[in-house]
Amino acid sequence: MKKSLNCLVIAGVLAAGSAWAGEIRIGATMRMISENGQKYGEMMQDEFAAINESGGINGHTVKLILLNDECKSDKGVANANKFAYQDNVHLIIGSTCSSVSLPIVDVTAQAEVPQIIPHSTNDQITRKNSAWVFRVPISSRYYKGVVSKYLHDKVGDQIAYVYASDAAAMSETQGLIQQMRDVYGVEPVYEAQTQEKEIDFRSHLVTIKDLNPDAIFFGGLQEPIARFLVQSYEVGIPASVVRAAGSAASNAPVPKLAGDAVKGVFFSAAYSDSDDRPIAQLFNSYVRSRYGIKGVDHDFSQAYDLIRIVEIALGNADLSLEDDDLAADRTAIRDAIANVQGYEGLASGPISFCADPTPECRDGNRTPVLIQYLEGGEDFKVGILDRVTMPVEFGL
């Protein structure tokens, strides 16, 4: 009895092993604790399911394992370790938050698994010079260049900065302050850091009002940005003072929560809802109907672009997908992603990678688009101010 049971277990294990063979395994770790965060994850699942329904990639099906890291580095690291060593994935996608992507870079470098980043903007991620990392979104080093130039040329140099305590906001805002200092010799008229979950910014805003700046810049996540904008009017800062915000201002809840206070606010992002290209219009209506999202932000477009880039790379990679060839398959996928050149999707500019493990090669998109809110509310409207492709070595 015991012997036959053992045989059954062994047969089961072997069957599971053979079921794995021929399957491309992808692990995704993302921040799925907000409504939009869950939708990005859902979209990834749906897109890979659609690839499988249409025959897979070179006849191979894709298995996506999606885990939540709650924007916590320890959970992200655990997820990445699980993907790399237990699930034996061929590719890791993640994460949404820079503070999670940063340590995962070290895990994927040691395990030698290719990692492609959907949303994190912190410039330190690619400065680690890992041969296994690729970034689809725009690095904060490019954002700061575009915003600083626009502020200096079109707005003025008297700028007040307030930023929340999240990795992306800090990197974006502090980088911008440094850029204004280094390139234009301008010091901030006011600089303050707030708590990640702080909701009352009026003490800062009252001080800023007395300083009468040309512009106020706020770096933070979507809800704090919306509150900050509303409160800036509540304390009586006139509309003539330009309001600018970090790339998270692109997220749909900002105009919905801020209402008319969002009018005139500008920010830089990787995608604009008002993009008039047919592909963008098609994408907007697809996301609206399928996920019930009114304002399609750049995190949706970046997740979508990432899937298409992965599809292209997997299609070009010479994969055996046998368990013994896992390391070779991972290397082949890494090299195939590095060979993606001039991908034109939803992003504001072409996305290209190359083989060197440097930020120049691994920050794929270097075309931020400057966007301004024309109307707020649920049916908000935005306009494109400018689209700038930055020099590849900018900010290094």
């Binding site: 916590k72 580095s73 699980k82 340590p103 070290d106």
Partner: protein
């Protein structure tokens, strides 16, 4: 299962009879080859993490279980240990063997600060004071650029001994596992010492303890400092484990609830219970990783369920089993002795 527990207890008893340290030496020898029996590196990573959680839970058990002080600031001391190591390693280039004791010392100094309110506060009020301390530490780290603020501190070097660097989880296991065993052994030693008895006296009734000559304030403070020792140790080990990255998000109230769950589920005041709790909670958290929507709900339900139906936790059940068994054995022994006495009396007649 019960036969197995009985067998283990008998085996430990025989080893103890030879030398009190022998069971621990055998445990060390049994645990040494564990990485070779795991299926992959991820499992070794999980075991390392469990060892760190055991140290952390054992520390919490000293102050909460032994001394009866309601603290929810333990995770802040863990953060202080981790960040001290991170700063020393990345900003001063100090090696692990320097960082570890300094981190422990830093956590112990803050342990005194956490312990001071316990002189005047008890129960929910002490819990609130320690919660405020935990929040203050998290917020301070989050806004301090020197401490990496919201970006965290990366690049913490792995431990190096005589030119040999612990670069992967397998190698790190041989550092973290013996330290965990030593920490658990020390907690048993504390429990059995005069200090441990004083802790328990303070827990049961501070006024009675004081009337018996126990310096209540002193022992409350010692409990907090000892607990901080464990938290600092766990924090330093966590910081130096791959990928060598610490972030304020790893030291929030949710982490505190998780460590509390380990102690409550295992059994407050029961060292083995705390260890079992740390193992179960870490494994359950891993297994339910894909059901992340329900994870915290599950943890909360387990805490409520344990408090309602199993107030002494898993350790309490095991303890009750042993107490019952000893009681039955003693009763049988008495009955046999009585029969013997009766038999010899009737023979004499």
């Amino acid at each position: 299962m019960l036969t197995l527990i009985d067998g283990i207890e008998a085996f430990i008893g025989r080893l103890k009879a030879i030398h009190p340290l022998l069971p621990w030496l055998v445990a060390l020898l049994l645990l040494l080859p564990v990485p070779h029996f795991t299926a992959n590196n991820y499992q070794v990573y999980l075991i390392n993490f469990i060892c760190i959680m055991i140290i952390l839970a054992t520390g919490l058990n000293i102050v909460k279980g032994f001394a009866g002080q309601v603290t929810v600031g333990h995770v802040a001391l863990y953060a202080i240990g981790a960040y001290t190591s991170a700063v020393l390693s990345t900003k001063f280039g100090m090696p692990f063997y320097v960082n570890l004791p300094v981190s422990i010392l830093a956590a112990m100094i803050f342990g005194v600060l956490v312990g001071l309110p316990s002189f005047r506060l008890e129960g929910a009020y002490l819990a609130l004071a320690t919660l405020a301390f935990a929040q203050a530490v998290e917020v301070y780290i989050r806004v301090t650029n020197y401490l990496g603020a919201a970006s965290g501190i990366g690049g913490i070097k792995p431990p190096e001994f005589f030119g040999f660097t612990l670069r992967n989880y397998d190698e790190y296991y041989y550092l973290v596992m013996p330290i965990m065993l030593l920490a658990v052994y020390a907690s048993f030693a504390i429990l059995r010492s005069a200090t441990g008895r004083a802790f328990m006296a303070v827990r049961e009734d501070p006024i009675s303890a004081a009337s018996m000559g126990v310096n209540v304030r002193r022992y409350k403070l010692i409990a907090f400092v000892m607990s901080a020792f464990y938290a600092g140790l766990a924090g330093s080990l966590y910081a130096h484990m791959l990928p060598g990255y610490v972030h304020p998000n790893n030291f929030t109230v949710i982490e505190m609830v998780t460590v509390l769950l380990m102690v409550v589920l295992g059994g407050i005041g029961n060292i083995w219970g705390g260890i079992i709790g740390a193992i179960i909670v870490t494994i359950v958290a891993d297994i339910t990783r894909e059901y992340y929507f329900y994870q915290l709900l599950l943890f909360g339900a387990v805490i409520v369920g344990t408090v309602l139906f199993m107030p002494k936790g898993i350790g309490g059940i095991i303890d009750r089993y042993f107490v019952n068994r000893r009681f039955v054995a003693a009763r049988e022994l008495t009955a046999v002795a009585k029969r013997g006495v009766v038999g010899s009396a009737s023979r004499e007649e």
